[in-house]
Symmetry: C2
Subunit: 347 residues, 2 copies
């Protein structure tokens, strides 16, 4: 695909004139119809290029048996993680000369299924799934078995590969970094707010928290843990509930930034000063984490890399350079210390 | 487009069998090739429907001369306004049985031009432009003259229609509401931070501010005004600069929420208490406006309505039910009072 600026529309007639063939022949070449000799075909394609004729992509896709878009499925575009991911995926897709068709399933399973049914393998010849949590892996495997390239990124669970090519990061290690930070600051009364069910999507993050608590010989109490949805408001509600019943906690580990930002607001509304009375740490490093006051201490996951490697893997898969069992690991998460964590006060 | 759940892949052979015709005939019907009688054509299409055969959309688009997507151009998906807008546009497009192809131009003109050149009229048969500020209207008019339906939403300037169908809102009225709120609280030392050049995209908002100041007989000083970019960081920098040189301001009108949130952080970093020492008001009501502490007082613009009416107008235009001069007005902006504004203190 060229990226020339607009010029007055070139017609198929001008292309035909330039190539010294009939309009019908140009049309046949572009649509892959009729009998056209290879020399003529080349001459037409060169004239198309020279004149800057804007080929009908839909037609060309049919001819090349290659659709001009990649599809990105995500669950919630208004969760700040996804715009950042989408931006990086978009730029990466453009480097591979594809536009990105974005499907926001809005947490509705039907919408994702319907989207896949309608675009996978036709309008888009590859699908990057960023919200595997919302879509049964079985459906993706079925799609894959039909020959449609499917890649999952972000995959949370490096130890449990999905049977679909994926890009994964060390989610358990991210949680470990976050909780180790609290322990090193001297916290012993540490609560946890997990943005999924106990055995749900954040189970590896929960396991990382458990591990560090065990290593630090801190007794975990079920009363200090909450399992909720991965949203700002759910973080707010879970923290309000948790801090009301366990007011002597000095720190809260939250499995994701968006609910962690809700926790900051809940703490403020309950009269806690952060970090003096309560430390809060999240995971991801979404943009609002650095804009909040205090800034949110968090463990940054490589969002841009996850998007870029996801698109890269999809393209590799389409070109036969990756297989159904390819698992790509990103670089390691890293701790970003901001104003929301400090040593516990002495009282 | 049906939205049935996945069933084992139906082959073209099964469709042919059901319709009592050859595979070639089914293919001809789907691709619009060859000679097929109308009765046979109907029988094939019914069999396709009955079997839940997933027609190749690219092929169907060629046959129906109708592309299966609408394109949305925006400048910056990580600006929280756009995900909210995109979500609403996406849902609205789905109601019209179209997927939404999202192009994030990332503030680069070339990228928008290249996108339009590649998809408009082929892969997408209509374009909704949400970032007209970044794209010369001339290019859109040229596109329109080529027969590609183009709609602008959001159009900021109801009094200056662009010659392209658009959805507009009363941006000057929004600014008036914001500044009137400050005046009614008793503020007289009011600064302004405008997220564009003086005669740029926010000029109607600036005019609304000027009007109310004049009506309230408050002398405006150039030293109390800053013109900057429409981002969090630029709001932060502009406020730092403004408050350093004019520390006795008691209120700041900001022409958009994102820079207004940056202003809140700058005020906090300079030691101002909001709203005790300084009131801040924005425009838009993006999600972070209600999540910040204090919450941002703002004038809500009808984001969802702008997206829905934009898609609706685009579809109307494609169906000949709107013209190049159609201008649609949304409902009026409304003031949302939160914690960032209060009466000035007496000292």
């Amino acid at each position: 695909m060229s990226s020339k600026h607009f010029t007055p529309a070139v017609t198929i007639r001008e292309v035909a004139e330039d190539a010294g063939v009939s309009v019908m022949t140009v049309s046949n070449v572009l649509r892959g119809r009729g009998r056209v000799g290879e020399d003529t075909r080349q001459r037409v394609l060169e004239a198309v290029e020279r004149q800057g004729y804007r080929p009908n992509l839909t037609a060309r896709a049919l001819v090349e048996r290659k659709a001009p878009t990649l599809a990105l499925m995500l669950s919630c575009i208004t969760n700040p993680f996804y715009p950042e991911f989408t931006l990086a995926a978009n730029l990466s897709a453009l480097k591979h000369e594809r536009h990105l068709l974005v499907c926001n399933t809005d947490h509705e399973l039907d919408r994702g299924t319907s989207f896949l049914q309608q675009v996978a393998g036709s309008l888009s010849d590859g699908v990057l799934v960023a919200n595997y949590g919302n879509l049964p892996v079985e459906e993706l495997i079925e799609l894959q078995e039909r020959g449609v390239p499917v890649v999952i990124s972000v995959w949370e669970l490096p130890d449990e590969p999905p049977g679909i090519p994926c890009v994964t990061f060390d989610s358990k290690g991210a949680a470990r970094l976050a909780v180790e930070h609290l322990v090193e600051l001297g916290h012993r009364r540490i609560g946890a707010i997990i943005g999924s069910r106990k055995n749900g999507i954040h189970r590896a993050r929960y396991a990382g928290y458990q591990e560090v608590m065990r290593e630090a010989k801190i007794r975990r109490l079920a009363a200090d843990e909450r399992f909720t949805e991965d949203s700002f408001d759910d973080g707010y509600r879970a923290a309000t509930d948790l801090l009301s019943s366990r007011p002597d906690l000095t720190a809260i580990f939250v499995s994701n930034d968006l609910p962690a930002l809700g926790v900051l607001n809940a703490a403020s509304d309950l009269g806690y000063s952060v970090p003096e009375d309560l430390s809060v740490v999240g995971i991801t490093d979404i943009v609002p984490a650095r804009q909040s006051r205090p800034g949110l201490t968090t463990v940054a996951i490589p969002t841009k890399e996850l998007a870029e490697k996801g698109i890269g893997l999809l393209v590799d898969l389409m070109n036969g350079r990756a297989s159904d069992t390819t698992v790509i690991h990103t670089s390691a998460p890293r701790l970003i210390v901001r104003g929301s964590t400090a040593a516990p006060s002495n009282d």
